[in-house]
C-alpha cells in the first residue's frame, strides 16, 4: 500500500460545530483505487470528513490535498469527486435517465469537449451523420445518452430509463444514485452510508456489487458506515473512528485480529477482553493460567488486556483443557453455537460447532497465535 500513489491526503484536519470539536487533527492518506471505509458510531465525525472532502464544508484547520493540490477552498462543483448520498437525493422532477445524465447535461461545452476528447466526438459525428447531418452538440448529447444508458446497465437498471424516480423502490433509487455519480467518471466516489436504508438481503447484495464495481472500474471508493460487518466485507482498509479521532487504520483482518484498544475491539465484532499479565517473553497469564503467546513485546510483569475472539477458542475434552468452565447460556446461530461459559467468575463468549447443554462443563484451549494483547488503557 505504502508505495502506491496517494490520491487524497488529509493533513491535520480539524472541524468544530458550535465550539464542539467533531474532527480532531485527523491525518489520513487515501491511495488510488482503494476501497477505504470510515467506520464509527454516529457522531464520530466520519460524515464530516466525507463532507469536507466533497467540499460542502470547509475544515477549520488543516489541508485537504487531492492529487498534490490543496483543495480547501475549491467549491464542490470544481472537484473530481462525486457523492452517493444517504437518502439518494435523486431529482424528483426528472426521470431516471435525466437524473443520470444530469451532471453531464449541465456541463460547459469546454468541459464536455475535454471529457470525451475530440476524437470520440468526431467519431460520433461520423457515426450519426450516416443518417443525417449532425452538429457537434448533437453528437455530445448522443454520447451523454449512451453513457447514461451504459451506467444504468452497470447497475442493472437499463429497463427503467423513462421511469419516474418516485416509482422506484429504495434499492432501485440507490442504484440510480450510483449510476448518476459513476457516469461522470469521478476519480473518487464518496458514499455516505448508502446502504443504511435498504433491507438486509438487498444490503448484502449491494455490498458485493459495490465491491465488484470498485474493482472493475478502478475508482477510489471512500465509504462511510457504522456497520462493522459492511466495512469488513467491502473494504481494503478500514479507519475506525471515535469522537473525531482515528483510533486505528488497517486492513479488515488486522483490525479484527489485532485491535489496538478496547474501543476498537468492542466495535469490530464480538470479543472477550480479559485482564492479564505479560509474565515474560511469549508467556501471558490470565484467568490464573499461563498461556503461550507470540508476537508481542511488553515489559515483563506488565499488566495487559488480552483479546480473544469467540471463535478462537478450541473446545476440547475437559481433561486436556487449559480452562474449564460451565455453559451458562446457549444460543443456536445456524452455522455455529454461541455459548456463554463461566470460567473462574468471568463470563466468556465462545463460538463452536460442538453442541453443549446449559450446565455442562466445557473445556477450552487457545492457540498461541490467537491470543492478542493490548496495552492497558488508563483513564477509562
Amino acid at each position: 500500500m505504502e508505495n502506491q500513489h496517494a490520491l487524497i491526503e488529509l493533513k491535520n484536519i480539524s472541524k468544530s460545530y458550535d465550539d464542539e470539536l467533531v474532527v480532531k487533527n485527523v491525518n489520513l492518506t487515501i491511495y488510488r483505487n482503494e476501497f477505504l471505509t470510515l467506520l464509527g458510531p454516529s457522531g464520530c465525525g466520519k460524515t464530516t470528513i466525507l463532507r469536507m472532502i466533497a467540499g460542502f464544508i470547509k475544515p477549520d484547520e488543516g489541508d485537504i490535498i487531492i492529487n498534490g493540490k490543496v483543495f480547501n477552498d475549491l467549491p464542490p462543483y470544481a472537484r473530481p469527486i462525486h457523492t452517493v448520498f444517504q437518502k439518494y437525493a435523486l431529482f424528483p422532477h426528472l426521470n431516471v435517465i435525466d437524473n443520470v445524465a444530469f451532471g453531464l447535461n449541465n456541463r460547459s461545452w469546454e468541459y464536455l469537449e475535454n471529457f470525451y476528447g475530440q476524437e470520440k466526438i468526431a467519431a460520433e459525428i461520423k457515426e450519426l451523420s450516416k443518417k443525417k447531418e449532425v452538429s457537434a452538440k448533437k453528437a455530445i448529447k448522443s454520447l451523454i445518452y449512451k453513457d447514461s444508458v451504459q451506467a444504468l446497465k452497470l447497475v442493472k437498471l437499463d429497463g427503467f430509463i423513462k421511469r419516474k424516480v418516485d416509482q422506484l423502490s429504495g434499492g432501485q433509487q440507490q442504484r440510480v444514485a450510483l449510476a448518476r455519480a459513476l457516469v461522470n467518471k469521478p476519480e473518487i466516489l464518496l458514499l455516505d452510508e448508502p446502504l443504511a436504508a435498504l433491507d438486509l438481503k438487498l444490503r448484502q447484495n449491494m455490498q458485493y456489487e459495490l465491491k465488484e464495481m470498485q474493482r472493475t472500474l478502478g475508482i477510489t471508493f471512500l465509504f462511510v458506515t457504522h456497520d462493522q460487518e459492511e466495512a469488513m466485507t467491502m473494504s481494503d482498509r478500514i479507519v475506525v473512528m471515535k469522537e473525531g479521532v482515528i483510533q486505528q487504520l488497517g486492513a479488515p483482518k488486522s483490525i479484527y485480529n489485532e485491535p489496538i484498544n478496547r474501543y476498537v475491539a468492542n466495535f469490530i465484532g464480538e470479543t472477550n477482553i480479559l485482564p492479564g499479565r505479560y509474565v515474560k517473553k511469549d508467556l501471558v497469564n490470565f484467568l490464573g493460567v499461563d498461556f503461550k503467546c507470540m508476537g508481542y513485546n511488553f515489559n515483563d510483569g506488565e499488566d495487559v488486556d488480552v483479546v480473544i475472539r469467540p471463535e478462537d477458542f478450541d473446545v476440547v475434552d475437559v481433561e486436556k483443557a487449559k480452562l474449564v468452565g460451565e455453559v451458562v447460556f446457549s444460543l443456536f446461530k445456524g452455522v455455529h453455537n454461541e455459548y456463554e461459559v463461566l470460567v473462574k467468575g468471568e463470563k466468556l463468549l465462545v463460538h463452536t460447532y460442538e453442541s453443549y447443554e446449559v450446565g455442562q462443563p466445557i473445556g477450552l484451549t487457545i492457540d498461541p497465535y490467537e491470543i492478542h494483547m493490548m496495552k492497558v488503557e488508563t483513564g477509562e
Binding site: 466533497a54 467540499g55 460542502f56 467549491p75 464542490p76 462543483y77 469527486i81 462525486h82 457523492t83 448520498f85 444517504q86 437518502k87 437525493a89 435523486l90 431529482f91 424528483p92 422532477h93 444530469f102 451532471g103 449541465n106 456541463r107 468541459y111 448518476r180 455519480a181 461522470n184
Partner: protein
C-alpha cells in the same frame, strides 16, 4: 364527513351558482311576475358593450401585471427568507402577512391617503413618499401588489421549504454552479408553488373591485366594479351574467392548478 359537507356545499355554493346562471338567462326583475318569466340570450349583448370590454381589459391587464410583479418580487423575498440564517422564520413570515391583519378597505383607504398630495406621512417625513400618484394606474398597481403579494410569498416559501437540501448539494456535487443549480433544481421544484401563488394573486385581482375603486378614485374601472354597480342598481341579470363569466375564469384557473399540483401540496 361527506354528507354535511355536501349539504353545506349545495346550500352555499351550488344553489347560488345555479340561481345566478338562471338569472343571467332570464328576464327576471322586480317588475316581472313569475308567470311572465322567459329565458333568452338577450343579456349577452352586454358582453360586447365597450364599457364591459374595457373593464375586462383593465381587470386582465392589471391582474396579469400584478401576478408578474408579485412573482418576481415575491419569489425573491421568499427565497431570501428561505436562505436567511434567522432562526425563527415564522416571525419573518408573520411580517409578510402582518398587513393582512387589518381590514382591506381601511388599509386601502389609508394607502390612498398617503398617496395623495397632503398627508400625515408627508408631515412626518418632510417629503412625499409616493409622490402624488393617487388616482393613477401606478397607485392601483401598487395597491394590488401590496395586498396580494403575500399569497405568492407564502406559497413559494412553502414550496421552497419542501425542497430537500441534499438535492441542492447533489447538484453542486454533480458540477453545477450555484446559479445553474437554482435554475435546474430549485426553481423547477418550486414551480408548483409559483403556479399556486400566481392563481391566488390573479383571481382576487381579476375579480376585485375595492382596490381599483379606492386607489384610482373611480377612474379605472374593473369588471368587479361593473358587477358591483349592476347589483347596487338592482340589475341582477347583468350582474349575474358578469359574475358567471368571472366564475368560468376561476374554474379554468383551478383546473390549471390541479394540472401542476396534483397532490395539492402547496395549497393551504
Amino acid at each position: 364527513m361527506a354528507v354535511p359537507y355536501k349539504i353545506w356545499l349545495s346550500i352555499l355554493v351550488f344553489i347560488p351558482i345555479l340561481a345566478m346562471l338562471f338569472i343571467s338567462f332570464s328576464n327576471l326583475s322586480s317588475s316581472v311576475s313569475v308567470g311572465e318569466l322567459t329565458l333568452s340570450l338577450a343579456h349577452f349583448k352586454l358582453l360586447w358593450e365597450s364599457s364591459t370590454v374595457i373593464a375586462f381589459r383593465n381587470s386582465l391587464i392589471f391582474a396579469v401585471a400584478t401576478t408578474l410583479i408579485s412573482f418576481v418580487l415575491g419569489y425573491f423575498i421568499a427565497y431570501e427568507i428561505k436562505l436567511s440564517k434567522f432562526k425563527n422564520k415564522f416571525i419573518l413570515l408573520t411580517f409578510v402577512i402582518l398587513p393582512m391583519w387589518s381590514n382591506l378597505i381601511l388599509r386601502t383607504e389609508s394607502l390612498a391617503n398617503i398617496m395623495s398630495e397632503n398627508n400625515i406621512l408627508k408631515n412626518i417625513l418632510g417629503f412625499n413618499l409616493f409622490g402624488n400618484i393617487s388616482g393613477t394606474w401606478m397607485a392601483v398597481l401598487f395597491g394590488l401588489v401590496f395586498t396580494y403579494m403575500p399569497f405568492m410569498i407564502l406559497s413559494v416559501y412553502t414550496a421552497l421549504e419542501k425542497i430537500d437540501f441534499a438535492l441542492e448539494e447533489a447538484a453542486l456535487d454533480l458540477g453545477l454552479r450555484p446559479i445553474k443549480k437554482f435554475w435546474k433544481v430549485v426553481f423547477p421544484l418550486s414551480f408548483k408553488g409559483v403556479v399556486t401563488g400566481a392563481i391566488m394573486v390573479f383571481l382576487p385581482t381579476l375579480a376585485g373591485f375595492a382596490i381599483p375603486k379606492i386607489l384610482s378614485r373611480g377612474r379605472i374601472v374593473f369588471i368587479g366594479n361593473i358587477i358591483e354597480q349592476k347589483f347596487i342598481y338592482t340589475n341582477y341579470n347583468h350582474g349575474a351574467l358578469l359574475a358567471v363569466v368571472i366564475l368560468f375564469f376561476i374554474l379554468g384557473s383551478i383546473l390549471l392548478i390541479t394540472k401542476f399540483d396534483k397532490e395539492g401540496e402547496t395549497l393551504l
